[in-house]
Symmetry: C2
Subunit: 249 residues, 2 copies
Protein backbone atom coordinates (compact mmCIF):
# COMPACT_ATOMS: atom_id res chain seq x y z
CA UNK A 1 0.00 0.00 0.00
CA UNK A 2 1.39 3.41 -0.89
CA UNK A 3 -0.30 6.76 -0.39
CA UNK A 4 -0.50 9.62 -2.83
CA UNK A 5 2.46 11.86 -2.07
CA UNK A 6 4.79 9.51 -0.25
CA UNK A 7 6.76 6.48 -1.47
CA UNK A 8 6.71 4.54 1.76
CA UNK A 9 4.03 2.08 2.78
CA UNK A 10 1.44 3.66 5.04
CA UNK A 11 2.61 1.39 7.84
CA UNK A 12 5.93 3.22 7.97
CA UNK A 13 4.44 6.67 8.23
CA UNK A 14 4.67 8.29 11.63
CA UNK A 15 2.43 10.99 13.08
CA UNK A 16 2.92 13.07 16.23
CA UNK A 17 -0.26 14.43 17.83
CA UNK A 18 0.38 17.66 19.73
CA UNK A 19 -2.67 18.38 21.84
CA UNK A 20 -3.49 21.44 23.95
CA UNK A 21 -6.72 21.04 25.89
CA UNK A 22 -7.13 20.18 29.56
CA UNK A 23 -10.54 18.48 29.35
CA UNK A 24 -11.11 14.84 28.26
CA UNK A 25 -14.73 15.64 27.30
CA UNK A 26 -13.94 18.72 25.22
CA UNK A 27 -14.63 19.00 21.50
CA UNK A 28 -10.92 19.57 20.86
CA UNK A 29 -10.02 16.37 22.69
CA UNK A 30 -12.67 14.55 20.64
CA UNK A 31 -10.86 15.78 17.52
CA UNK A 32 -7.55 14.48 18.86
CA UNK A 33 -9.09 11.07 19.66
CA UNK A 34 -10.63 10.92 16.22
CA UNK A 35 -7.36 11.83 14.49
CA UNK A 36 -5.58 9.10 16.46
CA UNK A 37 -8.14 6.48 15.42
CA UNK A 38 -8.30 7.52 11.76
CA UNK A 39 -4.53 7.60 11.37
CA UNK A 40 -4.04 4.23 13.09
CA UNK A 41 -6.70 2.66 10.89
CA UNK A 42 -4.87 4.03 7.85
CA UNK A 43 -1.70 2.33 9.07
CA UNK A 44 0.17 5.23 10.61
CA UNK A 45 2.15 4.82 13.80
CA UNK A 46 1.08 7.52 16.22
CA UNK A 47 3.12 9.26 18.93
CA UNK A 48 1.64 11.86 21.24
CA UNK A 49 2.43 15.02 23.16
CA UNK A 50 -0.62 15.77 25.28
CA UNK A 51 0.68 19.03 26.71
CA UNK A 52 -1.72 19.46 29.66
CA UNK A 53 -1.47 15.76 30.60
CA UNK A 54 2.34 15.96 30.47
CA UNK A 55 2.35 19.14 32.56
CA UNK A 56 4.53 20.61 29.84
CA UNK A 57 6.45 23.69 31.01
CA UNK A 58 5.88 26.43 28.40
CA UNK A 59 8.34 29.01 29.76
CA UNK A 60 11.58 29.44 27.83
CA UNK A 61 14.14 30.45 30.44
CA UNK A 62 17.83 30.16 31.43
CA UNK A 63 16.92 26.88 33.19
CA UNK A 64 16.64 25.28 29.73
CA UNK A 65 20.40 25.36 29.26
CA UNK A 66 22.50 22.95 31.31
CA UNK A 67 25.90 24.26 30.18
CA UNK A 68 25.90 27.82 28.93
CA UNK A 69 28.16 28.94 26.10
CA UNK A 70 28.01 32.45 27.51
CA UNK A 71 27.31 32.39 31.25
CA UNK A 72 27.33 36.21 31.50
CA UNK A 73 24.84 37.27 28.85
CA UNK A 74 21.98 35.07 27.63
CA UNK A 75 20.91 35.08 23.99
CA UNK A 76 18.30 32.33 23.76
CA UNK A 77 18.93 31.34 20.13
CA UNK A 78 22.70 31.03 20.59
CA UNK A 79 22.29 28.91 23.72
CA UNK A 80 19.72 26.72 21.95
CA UNK A 81 22.24 25.90 19.23
CA UNK A 82 24.98 25.29 21.80
CA UNK A 83 22.68 23.19 24.01
CA UNK A 84 21.64 21.03 21.07
CA UNK A 85 25.20 20.50 19.85
CA UNK A 86 26.49 19.60 23.31
CA UNK A 87 23.44 17.58 24.39
CA UNK A 88 22.83 19.84 27.39
CA UNK A 89 19.32 21.08 26.66
CA UNK A 90 16.71 20.39 29.33
CA UNK A 91 15.44 16.83 28.81
CA UNK A 92 11.80 17.91 28.43
CA UNK A 93 12.96 19.86 25.35
CA UNK A 94 15.29 17.28 23.85
CA UNK A 95 12.70 14.50 24.15
CA UNK A 96 10.15 16.63 22.29
CA UNK A 97 12.70 17.45 19.58
CA UNK A 98 13.28 13.71 19.07
CA UNK A 99 9.56 13.10 18.71
CA UNK A 100 9.23 15.87 16.13
CA UNK A 101 12.23 14.69 14.15
CA UNK A 102 10.89 11.11 14.09
CA UNK A 103 7.51 12.22 12.70
CA UNK A 104 6.40 12.66 9.08
CA UNK A 105 3.22 14.49 10.09
CA UNK A 106 2.51 16.82 13.02
CA UNK A 107 -1.14 17.15 14.03
CA UNK A 108 -2.01 20.11 16.25
CA UNK A 109 -5.36 20.13 18.08
CA UNK A 110 -6.18 23.20 20.19
CA UNK A 111 -8.82 25.79 21.01
CA UNK A 112 -8.09 29.20 19.49
CA UNK A 113 -7.51 31.62 22.38
CA UNK A 114 -7.16 35.27 21.40
CA UNK A 115 -6.81 34.41 17.70
CA UNK A 116 -3.76 32.31 18.52
CA UNK A 117 -2.71 29.11 20.23
CA UNK A 118 -3.05 28.58 24.00
CA UNK A 119 0.04 29.57 25.99
CA UNK A 120 0.98 25.95 26.67
CA UNK A 121 1.26 25.30 22.92
CA UNK A 122 2.98 28.63 22.27
CA UNK A 123 5.56 27.61 24.85
CA UNK A 124 6.03 24.23 23.20
CA UNK A 125 6.96 26.09 20.01
CA UNK A 126 9.14 28.61 21.91
CA UNK A 127 11.17 25.87 23.64
CA UNK A 128 11.14 22.96 21.15
CA UNK A 129 11.56 24.69 17.76
CA UNK A 130 15.17 25.58 18.48
CA UNK A 131 17.64 27.51 16.40
CA UNK A 132 19.94 25.04 14.61
CA UNK A 133 17.99 21.91 13.72
CA UNK A 134 14.72 23.75 13.04
CA UNK A 135 15.95 26.92 11.31
CA UNK A 136 18.90 29.27 10.93
CA UNK A 137 20.31 31.73 8.40
CA UNK A 138 18.65 30.93 5.04
CA UNK A 139 17.29 27.63 6.35
CA UNK A 140 13.74 28.92 6.69
CA UNK A 141 10.44 28.37 4.87
CA UNK A 142 11.02 25.85 2.03
CA UNK A 143 14.60 25.34 3.24
CA UNK A 144 13.69 25.02 6.93
CA UNK A 145 14.82 22.12 9.06
CA UNK A 146 11.46 20.33 8.88
CA UNK A 147 11.15 20.50 5.07
CA UNK A 148 9.55 17.29 3.81
CA UNK A 149 7.30 16.93 6.84
CA UNK A 150 3.69 18.05 6.99
CA UNK A 151 1.50 19.79 9.59
CA UNK A 152 -2.25 19.51 10.05
CA UNK A 153 -3.99 21.92 12.44
CA UNK A 154 -7.49 21.46 13.81
CA UNK A 155 -8.95 24.09 16.10
CA UNK A 156 -12.16 25.32 17.66
CA UNK A 157 -13.36 28.92 17.92
CA UNK A 158 -16.26 30.62 19.65
CA UNK A 159 -16.70 32.93 16.67
CA UNK A 160 -18.85 32.21 13.61
CA UNK A 161 -17.44 31.73 10.11
CA UNK A 162 -18.90 35.00 8.78
CA UNK A 163 -16.74 36.98 11.22
CA UNK A 164 -13.68 36.06 9.12
CA UNK A 165 -12.64 36.76 5.55
CA UNK A 166 -12.26 39.83 3.39
CA UNK A 167 -14.40 42.74 4.64
CA UNK A 168 -15.41 40.85 7.77
CA UNK A 169 -15.20 41.91 11.42
CA UNK A 170 -11.90 40.20 12.24
CA UNK A 171 -10.39 39.93 8.75
CA UNK A 172 -8.89 36.78 7.29
CA UNK A 173 -8.33 33.86 9.67
CA UNK A 174 -5.62 31.66 8.14
CA UNK A 175 -3.63 34.44 6.43
CA UNK A 176 -4.53 37.22 8.88
CA UNK A 177 -5.07 36.38 12.53
CA UNK A 178 -3.39 32.95 12.46
CA UNK A 179 -0.62 33.89 10.06
CA UNK A 180 1.90 34.16 12.90
CA UNK A 181 1.36 30.47 13.68
CA UNK A 182 0.59 28.82 10.34
CA UNK A 183 3.24 30.74 8.41
CA UNK A 184 5.43 32.29 11.11
CA UNK A 185 6.02 29.12 13.12
CA UNK A 186 4.99 26.02 11.13
CA UNK A 187 5.79 27.24 7.61
CA UNK A 188 8.94 29.03 8.81
CA UNK A 189 10.61 25.75 9.84
CA UNK A 190 9.80 24.17 6.47
CA UNK A 191 6.62 22.24 7.21
CA UNK A 192 4.08 21.82 4.45
CA UNK A 193 1.07 23.31 6.22
CA UNK A 194 -2.09 21.52 5.09
CA UNK A 195 -5.37 23.39 4.90
CA UNK A 196 -6.46 23.52 8.54
CA UNK A 197 -9.75 22.28 9.92
CA UNK A 198 -11.73 25.07 11.58
CA UNK A 199 -14.66 24.31 13.89
CA UNK A 200 -16.61 27.54 14.44
CA UNK A 201 -18.94 28.46 17.28
CA UNK A 202 -18.18 25.25 19.18
CA UNK A 203 -19.25 26.26 22.72
CA UNK A 204 -22.72 27.21 21.42
CA UNK A 205 -23.68 24.39 19.04
CA UNK A 206 -26.03 21.50 19.84
CA UNK A 207 -25.18 17.81 19.89
CA UNK A 208 -26.20 17.21 16.25
CA UNK A 209 -24.04 20.08 15.00
CA UNK A 210 -21.16 18.80 17.12
CA UNK A 211 -21.45 15.33 15.55
CA UNK A 212 -21.58 16.91 12.11
CA UNK A 213 -18.40 18.88 12.80
CA UNK A 214 -16.64 15.71 13.95
CA UNK A 215 -17.82 13.85 10.83
CA UNK A 216 -16.37 16.62 8.70
CA UNK A 217 -13.12 16.44 10.63
CA UNK A 218 -12.97 12.67 10.12
CA UNK A 219 -13.24 13.24 6.36
CA UNK A 220 -10.57 15.96 6.57
CA UNK A 221 -8.11 13.56 8.21
CA UNK A 222 -9.03 10.68 5.91
CA UNK A 223 -8.30 12.92 2.92
CA UNK A 224 -5.13 14.51 4.22
CA UNK A 225 -3.06 13.38 1.23
CA UNK A 226 -5.29 15.45 -1.05
CA UNK A 227 -5.53 18.58 1.11
CA UNK A 228 -4.13 21.79 -0.38
CA UNK A 229 -0.86 23.08 1.10
CA UNK A 230 -0.93 26.73 2.24
CA UNK A 231 1.30 28.98 0.12
CA UNK A 232 4.48 30.23 1.81
CA UNK A 233 7.09 32.83 0.86
CA UNK A 234 9.47 31.55 -1.83
CA UNK A 235 13.11 32.10 -0.93
CA UNK A 236 14.16 32.31 -4.58
CA UNK A 237 12.28 35.62 -4.79
CA UNK A 238 14.62 37.21 -2.21
CA UNK A 239 18.31 38.07 -2.27
CA UNK A 240 21.01 37.06 0.22
CA UNK A 241 19.79 39.69 2.71
CA UNK A 242 16.14 38.61 2.16
CA UNK A 243 15.34 41.80 0.24
CA UNK A 244 12.87 41.16 -2.61
CA UNK A 245 14.42 40.46 -6.02
CA UNK A 246 12.89 41.98 -9.15
CA UNK A 247 10.37 39.54 -10.71
CA UNK A 248 11.97 37.11 -13.20
CA UNK A 249 11.20 37.75 -16.91
CA UNK B 1 -0.16 70.22 34.35
CA UNK B 2 -2.43 68.43 31.90
CA UNK B 3 -1.40 66.24 28.99
CA UNK B 4 -2.76 66.32 25.49
CA UNK B 5 -5.58 63.77 25.36
CA UNK B 6 -6.51 63.43 29.01
CA UNK B 7 -8.18 65.87 31.43
CA UNK B 8 -6.48 64.66 34.57
CA UNK B 9 -3.20 66.00 35.90
CA UNK B 10 -0.28 63.80 34.92
CA UNK B 11 0.23 62.91 38.59
CA UNK B 12 -3.07 61.03 38.61
CA UNK B 13 -2.31 58.95 35.55
CA UNK B 14 -1.45 55.33 36.23
CA UNK B 15 0.61 52.98 34.08
CA UNK B 16 1.02 49.22 34.39
CA UNK B 17 4.25 47.79 32.96
CA UNK B 18 3.81 44.18 31.80
CA UNK B 19 7.25 42.76 31.15
CA UNK B 20 8.21 39.39 29.66
CA UNK B 21 11.98 38.84 29.67
CA UNK B 22 13.98 36.71 32.08
CA UNK B 23 17.26 38.63 31.89
CA UNK B 24 18.07 41.85 33.80
CA UNK B 25 20.77 42.78 31.25
CA UNK B 26 18.61 42.23 28.15
CA UNK B 27 17.67 44.96 25.70
CA UNK B 28 13.99 44.35 26.42
CA UNK B 29 14.56 44.84 30.15
CA UNK B 30 16.46 48.03 29.36
CA UNK B 31 13.35 49.23 27.50
CA UNK B 32 11.18 48.43 30.52
CA UNK B 33 13.55 50.28 32.86
CA UNK B 34 13.58 53.25 30.55
CA UNK B 35 9.76 53.32 30.26
CA UNK B 36 9.50 53.23 34.06
CA UNK B 37 11.89 56.18 34.44
CA UNK B 38 10.35 58.27 31.66
CA UNK B 39 6.81 57.77 32.91
CA UNK B 40 7.72 58.55 36.53
CA UNK B 41 9.53 61.70 35.47
CA UNK B 42 6.40 62.75 33.58
CA UNK B 43 4.39 62.31 36.78
CA UNK B 44 2.77 58.95 36.18
CA UNK B 45 2.35 56.43 38.96
CA UNK B 46 3.77 53.12 37.80
CA UNK B 47 2.68 49.59 38.77
CA UNK B 48 4.44 46.50 37.45
CA UNK B 49 3.87 42.91 36.41
CA UNK B 50 7.31 41.45 35.74
CA UNK B 51 6.08 38.03 34.59
CA UNK B 52 9.33 36.03 34.88
CA UNK B 53 10.21 37.65 38.22
CA UNK B 54 6.71 36.85 39.54
CA UNK B 55 6.91 33.27 38.28
CA UNK B 56 3.58 33.94 36.61
CA UNK B 57 1.73 30.74 35.68
CA UNK B 58 0.65 31.08 32.03
CA UNK B 59 -1.51 27.94 31.81
CA UNK B 60 -5.27 28.47 31.77
CA UNK B 61 -6.72 25.37 33.44
CA UNK B 62 -9.55 24.09 35.66
CA UNK B 63 -7.40 25.04 38.67
CA UNK B 64 -8.23 28.70 37.93
CA UNK B 65 -11.79 28.25 39.13
CA UNK B 66 -12.37 27.86 42.86
CA UNK B 67 -16.11 27.17 42.64
CA UNK B 68 -17.33 25.84 39.31
CA UNK B 69 -20.69 26.83 37.89
CA UNK B 70 -20.69 23.55 35.97
CA UNK B 71 -18.56 20.93 37.73
CA UNK B 72 -19.21 18.32 34.98
CA UNK B 73 -18.26 20.12 31.79
CA UNK B 74 -15.77 22.99 31.65
CA UNK B 75 -16.28 25.92 29.28
CA UNK B 76 -13.48 28.34 30.16
CA UNK B 77 -15.32 31.58 29.24
CA UNK B 78 -18.45 30.69 31.23
CA UNK B 79 -16.41 29.78 34.29
CA UNK B 80 -14.38 32.99 33.97
CA UNK B 81 -17.57 35.04 34.16
CA UNK B 82 -18.86 32.97 37.08
CA UNK B 83 -15.52 33.08 38.88
CA UNK B 84 -15.34 36.87 38.53
CA UNK B 85 -18.92 37.41 39.71
CA UNK B 86 -18.50 35.14 42.74
CA UNK B 87 -14.94 36.23 43.60
CA UNK B 88 -13.64 32.68 43.25
CA UNK B 89 -11.03 33.13 40.51
CA UNK B 90 -7.48 32.09 41.39
CA UNK B 91 -5.85 34.96 43.27
CA UNK B 92 -2.98 35.28 40.80
CA UNK B 93 -5.62 36.13 38.17
CA UNK B 94 -7.80 38.44 40.26
CA UNK B 95 -4.81 40.47 41.45
CA UNK B 96 -3.71 41.03 37.83
CA UNK B 97 -7.23 42.03 36.83
CA UNK B 98 -7.23 44.65 39.59
CA UNK B 99 -3.92 46.04 38.36
CA UNK B 100 -5.21 46.27 34.78
CA UNK B 101 -8.46 47.91 35.83
CA UNK B 102 -6.58 50.48 37.93
CA UNK B 103 -4.33 51.49 35.01
CA UNK B 104 -4.87 54.12 32.33
CA UNK B 105 -1.99 52.84 30.21
CA UNK B 106 -0.62 49.31 29.73
CA UNK B 107 2.99 49.08 28.56
CA UNK B 108 4.07 45.69 27.17
CA UNK B 109 7.79 44.97 26.77
CA UNK B 110 8.77 41.61 25.26
CA UNK B 111 10.96 39.88 22.70
CA UNK B 112 9.03 38.72 19.63
CA UNK B 113 9.20 34.89 19.61
CA UNK B 114 7.77 33.24 16.49
CA UNK B 115 6.14 36.48 15.32
CA UNK B 116 4.15 36.59 18.53
CA UNK B 117 4.52 37.15 22.26
CA UNK B 118 6.45 34.73 24.53
CA UNK B 119 4.29 32.01 26.08
CA UNK B 120 4.44 33.63 29.52
CA UNK B 121 2.81 36.78 28.13
CA UNK B 122 0.34 34.81 25.98
CA UNK B 123 -0.73 33.02 29.14
CA UNK B 124 -1.14 36.32 31.00
CA UNK B 125 -3.62 37.35 28.27
CA UNK B 126 -5.30 33.89 28.29
CA UNK B 127 -5.88 33.95 32.06
CA UNK B 128 -6.29 37.66 32.91
CA UNK B 129 -8.36 39.02 29.99
CA UNK B 130 -11.49 37.21 31.17
CA UNK B 131 -14.91 37.05 29.61
CA UNK B 132 -17.18 39.49 31.43
CA UNK B 133 -15.19 42.52 32.52
CA UNK B 134 -12.91 42.51 29.46
CA UNK B 135 -15.33 41.56 26.68
CA UNK B 136 -18.58 39.78 25.91
CA UNK B 137 -21.33 39.83 23.28
CA UNK B 138 -21.04 43.17 21.47
CA UNK B 139 -18.65 44.53 24.08
CA UNK B 140 -15.59 44.17 21.86
CA UNK B 141 -13.25 46.53 19.98
CA UNK B 142 -14.42 50.14 20.60
CA UNK B 143 -17.04 48.85 23.05
CA UNK B 144 -14.68 46.48 24.87
CA UNK B 145 -14.27 46.49 28.63
CA UNK B 146 -10.99 48.43 28.51
CA UNK B 147 -12.26 51.24 26.26
CA UNK B 148 -10.73 54.52 27.35
CA UNK B 149 -7.42 52.93 28.32
CA UNK B 150 -4.34 52.81 26.10
CA UNK B 151 -1.68 50.19 25.30
CA UNK B 152 1.92 50.76 24.24
CA UNK B 153 3.96 47.80 23.01
CA UNK B 154 7.73 47.75 22.67
CA UNK B 155 9.44 44.67 21.33
CA UNK B 156 12.69 43.34 19.94
CA UNK B 157 13.16 41.09 16.91
CA UNK B 158 16.11 39.29 15.40
CA UNK B 159 14.85 40.14 11.89
CA UNK B 160 15.69 43.29 9.96
CA UNK B 161 13.12 45.94 9.05
CA UNK B 162 13.24 45.15 5.31
CA UNK B 163 11.90 41.65 5.98
CA UNK B 164 8.50 43.19 6.80
CA UNK B 165 5.99 45.22 4.81
CA UNK B 166 4.20 44.80 1.52
CA UNK B 167 6.05 42.45 -0.86
CA UNK B 168 8.57 41.50 1.81
CA UNK B 169 9.64 38.07 3.03
CA UNK B 170 7.35 37.88 6.06
CA UNK B 171 4.64 40.39 5.03
CA UNK B 172 3.34 43.17 7.21
CA UNK B 173 4.37 43.14 10.87
CA UNK B 174 1.76 45.14 12.81
CA UNK B 175 -1.24 44.25 10.63
CA UNK B 176 -0.03 40.83 9.49
CA UNK B 177 2.11 38.75 11.81
CA UNK B 178 1.25 40.67 15.00
CA UNK B 179 -2.39 41.31 14.16
CA UNK B 180 -3.55 38.53 16.47
CA UNK B 181 -2.02 40.40 19.43
CA UNK B 182 -2.34 44.09 18.58
CA UNK B 183 -5.88 43.79 17.18
CA UNK B 184 -7.06 40.36 18.33
CA UNK B 185 -6.15 40.75 22.00
CA UNK B 186 -5.41 44.41 22.85
CA UNK B 187 -7.79 46.11 20.39
CA UNK B 188 -10.47 43.46 20.97
CA UNK B 189 -10.91 44.44 24.63
CA UNK B 190 -11.22 48.11 23.70
CA UNK B 191 -7.70 49.41 24.27
CA UNK B 192 -6.45 52.25 22.09
CA UNK B 193 -3.33 50.56 20.72
CA UNK B 194 -0.61 53.16 20.19
CA UNK B 195 1.87 52.76 17.37
CA UNK B 196 4.28 50.17 18.76
CA UNK B 197 8.03 50.57 19.09
CA UNK B 198 9.91 47.96 17.08
CA UNK B 199 13.61 47.28 17.70
CA UNK B 200 14.94 45.21 14.80
CA UNK B 201 17.99 42.96 14.67
CA UNK B 202 18.70 43.42 18.38
CA UNK B 203 20.88 40.33 19.06
CA UNK B 204 23.26 41.38 16.27
CA UNK B 205 23.72 45.15 16.74
CA UNK B 206 26.71 46.84 18.37
CA UNK B 207 26.69 48.97 21.49
CA UNK B 208 26.27 52.27 19.60
CA UNK B 209 23.27 50.97 17.66
CA UNK B 210 21.79 49.61 20.90
CA UNK B 211 22.11 53.05 22.54
CA UNK B 212 20.53 54.66 19.49
CA UNK B 213 17.58 52.27 19.67
CA UNK B 214 17.09 53.07 23.35
CA UNK B 215 17.26 56.82 22.60
CA UNK B 216 14.56 56.38 19.99
CA UNK B 217 12.47 54.39 22.46
CA UNK B 218 12.86 57.15 25.07
CA UNK B 219 11.48 59.65 22.54
CA UNK B 220 8.64 57.24 21.70
CA UNK B 221 7.58 57.06 25.36
CA UNK B 222 8.05 60.79 25.92
CA UNK B 223 5.76 61.45 22.96
CA UNK B 224 3.14 58.84 23.74
CA UNK B 225 0.31 61.38 23.83
CA UNK B 226 0.97 62.24 20.20
CA UNK B 227 1.44 58.67 18.88
CA UNK B 228 -1.04 57.48 16.26
CA UNK B 229 -3.62 54.91 17.40
CA UNK B 230 -3.83 51.76 15.25
CA UNK B 231 -7.11 51.49 13.33
CA UNK B 232 -9.51 48.80 14.58
CA UNK B 233 -12.75 47.36 13.18
CA UNK B 234 -15.71 49.72 13.67
CA UNK B 235 -18.72 47.98 15.21
CA UNK B 236 -21.17 50.37 13.53
CA UNK B 237 -20.21 48.79 10.19
CA UNK B 238 -21.58 45.39 11.30
CA UNK B 239 -25.08 44.17 12.12
CA UNK B 240 -26.29 42.41 15.27
CA UNK B 241 -24.70 39.12 14.11
CA UNK B 242 -21.47 40.93 13.18
CA UNK B 243 -22.15 40.51 9.45
CA UNK B 244 -20.93 43.53 7.43
CA UNK B 245 -23.56 46.22 6.77
CA UNK B 246 -23.71 47.90 3.36
CA UNK B 247 -21.60 51.09 3.35
CA UNK B 248 -23.55 54.19 4.46
CA UNK B 249 -24.46 56.73 1.70
Amino acid sequence: VTLANDDRPAAERRALLVHAHSEPDSFVTAMRDLARRELREAGWSVAESDLYAMGFNPILSPADFGARKNPEHLVYALEQRHGFETGTLATDISSEIEKVMAADLLVFTFPVFWFSVPAILKGWIDRVFISGPFYGGRRIYGSGGLAGKRALCAFSLGSRAHMFGSGSLHGDLEFGMLRHFLQGALGYVGLDVLEPFTAYHVPYVDEAARRDLLDRFRAHVAGLDTLPVLPMPKLEQFDATFAPLPPAE
